[in-house]
Symmetry: C2
Subunit: 491 residues, 2 copies
């Protein structure tokens, strides 16, 4: 095989990095903490975007665009918000370069200093609520259901491909409502939409729930999240939806006249997913041969590889491949016939395994004689010989089957690595030896949460929406508790 | 009418600004020179993006994503490039804010100063060619045909909605080729693609040609452009495609082994269009009633407005409107039934005229009786009564007709305002009194070009590809010339 990954079992984190590079998804750039998303990686992100964007529009949202820059003073208006983001802000201070007369080098022109520094948006609540102020006068102007697909910057000290990068791509929805009930409904609707996307498109099971106070978004009254379990037993927060109450409306003085004629502050939500989902997708399904993609997100769903010794065979195979490709494309699949003569079939096989193409079709001279092809599926690596006239139906069937199979595998993995724990020593041992999801009782205090984190690195990922009421004792303090919460070591 | 524009004839520039605001396309943000693109404006941009993106992909290009930040030192590597952009660069110097202990205000943390300043990309040649260095070893790695849809920043002193803003959205294609011929072909292919988009989707005729040396992109050996004529007689450069030769390959040391085994520098192109196209679209077709959109780019193609006095009529009209909407949507049109009871029909009529919705259907009680509707087209403002059973075909026909009609109108406008001029006084008078496109002879020197600009504000927009060889004398110096070039006062 041309490209080999560090085995998952040996070094999970190295396996992940190898995979990102060797599957041509991304690479490090010359700018610390910023990556280049390569065409193949970006094609997967485009698929995600296009599906999510459709879901947003179907639920009544429109896209817009707000500035990259946020005046420093805006930032300070919501106290919790600035505290959450101030330490990781890229700051623009000047607007011109010049050639230094002595050194002949390009330097910052000190005469072009901004009066007020501009922050590169780490998130856009402040600039957006400053804008909404002008859009909202009456209840008739509400709700506002707006989203934007943009880049944001958070100055991270330790970065990892997709999971944590200084610049990343995301969407941020920002909605404005006349009532608390409506804003809460929106918050819930969007976390449900994210869960739907994660499970039905990414084939990645998630747990929906509320964040504890200490894990909330800076400036939110409540944060809902979806949490997924990766193959190494760590949790990955994959999407969040925030109920912002009237915090930003107060900070930016956004009031409206209600139906009853009263002046009231507007209720807000914000919600987002980012290129972090790429990291989740990679880690949820892939193996030591490379990426495993759910067919619904695979830029290339089927690849056809010819196997031949002479030009005569090649011509006959190419003719057959052309027909197969056309048929599959008619069924709406994305298909490539890789007829390059610069690489051997074996090299191509591992290349497309590395890239996670769901189905591979190989055609050799004997297949032409027998009117068959070899079909290999990426998820199980199974191969079988298939009659040409059955091929279309079989491949279409495989798309569904693979989508479901990798979801089921992830579900099994999560089941096998989710533990109901009532004993502190057991809790510690799990987090230390074989981490996973742990459902345990908690006394509801930030203090206990912090101590558990300090001793085990585990955090409360969420208080699951579907947690049953069940009397119990806090795993750490023994104090009474009403329901179990979800603990894990998180990315 | 609820919203009135300053008449075009009175103050063209104010008319444009009014229109952008009143048609809900964009507004100024709190950040100098940066605008907020509002949902309706963004929906038009999304249509442009989606069509262009399809055209790029059809011609073999893929999307990717490169960092927002460019290290200052990269910038200096291509001399002409840095000279062209240094004076308008936003510079990031720090990566943290803190709370000042004395004033209790948020300030830049001086201890978090970057070792090397980062420039917000004004264009991405430098960071991309630094990346391509690692992607290209052999001729087998070529061509690279990559595009990105991103935001860029150029610190403009005087800004105007869409036409010139500090931050703007664009796509930038960056391709790498083994031969000069191939790179030149790509450069030409992309300017042709832009012209195709402008004429067949934006309904805006353009002239394709080469830029003179002084109007070239900083770092290019040749720049091709499309130039359109606006209703006020000014030219708008609407898209450019650059042949970069081996300049960036040399600056970033990007060499490849050719088929013949030689080490050679890679040939480059770059090409882009931006949200400036929104400005072109607005100015090309709109009138004193507001925006006029070509049906192919209208987010909303048909609006249905009910006219009623009582709830019984309203119910019957709504039923009919629902059926009409469903039928038109089946034909692939985007349709809205505006049944709001908060606004009168007349108000809605002017609202949708302002927003440039190509076709408006009004239904009143008499229409229900007669099985008719009133159809109004936005481009000519003509109305007629139409039988319900003919409606679908008529509306579909109107989409084509409007698309063609506004293109024809623009073409007529350009014909009427394009002059062949051989006399300097006439040239000056045209530029002074009633500017337009002027085809005139030029002696080929930058000196003459500059003098003409100083005396008349007119610049050479391009040397048209289809300019006929024709002996003549330079309009300014009387020196011999081989073909006419295109002069205009430009945005």
């Amino acid at each position: 095989m041309a490209k080999e990954l560090t085995p998952r079992e040996e070094n999970y984190s190295q396996w992940y990095n190898d995979l990102v590079i060797k599957a041509d998804l991304a690479e490090n750039s010359a700018v610390r903490g910023c990556m280049v998303i390569k065409p193949y990686g970006y094609a997967i992100w485009e698929k995600m975007q296009s599906i999510l964007d459709g879901m947003f529009k179907k639920t009544g949202h429109s896209n817009a665009y707000f500035p990259l820059f946020i005046p420093k003073s805006f930032f300070s208006k919501e106290a919790a918000h600035v505290e959450g983001f101030a330490k990781e802000c890229a700051v623009v201070t000047h607007y011109r370069l010049k050639i230094d007369e002595n050194s002949n080098e390009i330097v910052v022109d000190e005469t072009a200093k901004l009066e007020e520094e501009l922050i590169i948006r780490p998130t856009s609540e402040t600039i957006i609520w400053n804008t909404y102020k002008n859009w909202i006068q009456s209840y008739r102007d509400l709700p506002i259901l707006v989203n934007q697909w943009v880049n944001v910057v958070r100055w991270e000290m330790r970065t990892r491909f997709f999971l944590r990068t200084t610049e990343f791509l995301w969407q941020e929805g920002h909605t404005a409502h006349a009532t608390e009930v409506e804003a809460l409904e929106e918050t819930r609707k969007m976390v449900n939409l994210y869960a739907d996307f994660a499970e039905n498109h990414m084939a990645m099971p998630v747990i929906k729930g509320r964040k504890t106070e200490s894990e909330r978004f800076a400036g939110a009254l409540d944060t809902y999240a979806i949490e997924a379990l990766m193959q190494d037993g760590k949790a990955l927060q994959s999407g969040t939806s925030h109920f912002l109450g009237q915090n930003f409306a107060r900070a930016f003085d956004v009031q409206f006249t209600s139906k009853e004629g009263n002046l009231e502050y507007v209720w807000a939500t914000s919600w987002g997913v980012s290129t972090r989902l790429m990291g989740a997708l990679i880690m949820a399904h892939s193996d030591n041969n490379g990426l495993v993609l759910p067919p619904k997100l695979a830029p290339l769903q089927v690849v056809i590889v010819p196997i031949y010794k002479n030009q005569e065979d090649f011509a006959r195979i190419s003719e057959a491949a052309g027909k197969i490709k056309a048929d599959l494309e008619k069924s709406g699949l994305s298909v490539k016939y890789d007829d390059r003569d610069t690489h051997k079939p074996g090299w191509k096989f591992s290349e497309y395994e590395m890239k996670g193409v769901p189905v591979r079709i190989a055609i050799g001279p004997r297949d032409i004689e027998n009117n068959t092809v070899e079909v290999a599926r990426r998820d199980t690596l199974e191969k079988k010989i298939v009659a040409r006239d059955m091929l279309n139906d079989i491949v279409i069937g495989l798309m569904d089957e693979i989508q479901q199979n990798i979801f089921r595998k992830s579900l099994d993995l999560r089941r096998d690595n989710t533990h109901m724990v009532d004993d502190w020593d057991e809790f510690r041992e799990i987090m230390d030896k074989k981490p996973g999801f742990v459902l345990a009782h908690w006394d509801g205090t930030a203090e206990t949460e912090l101590k558990i984190k300090e001793e085990t690195k585990a955090t409360i990922r969420c208080i699951p929406f579907d947690a049953e009421v069940e009397k119990g004792k806090c795993i750490y303090t023994g104090k009474p508790s009403e329901k179990r919460v979800l603990f894990a070591i998180a990315y």
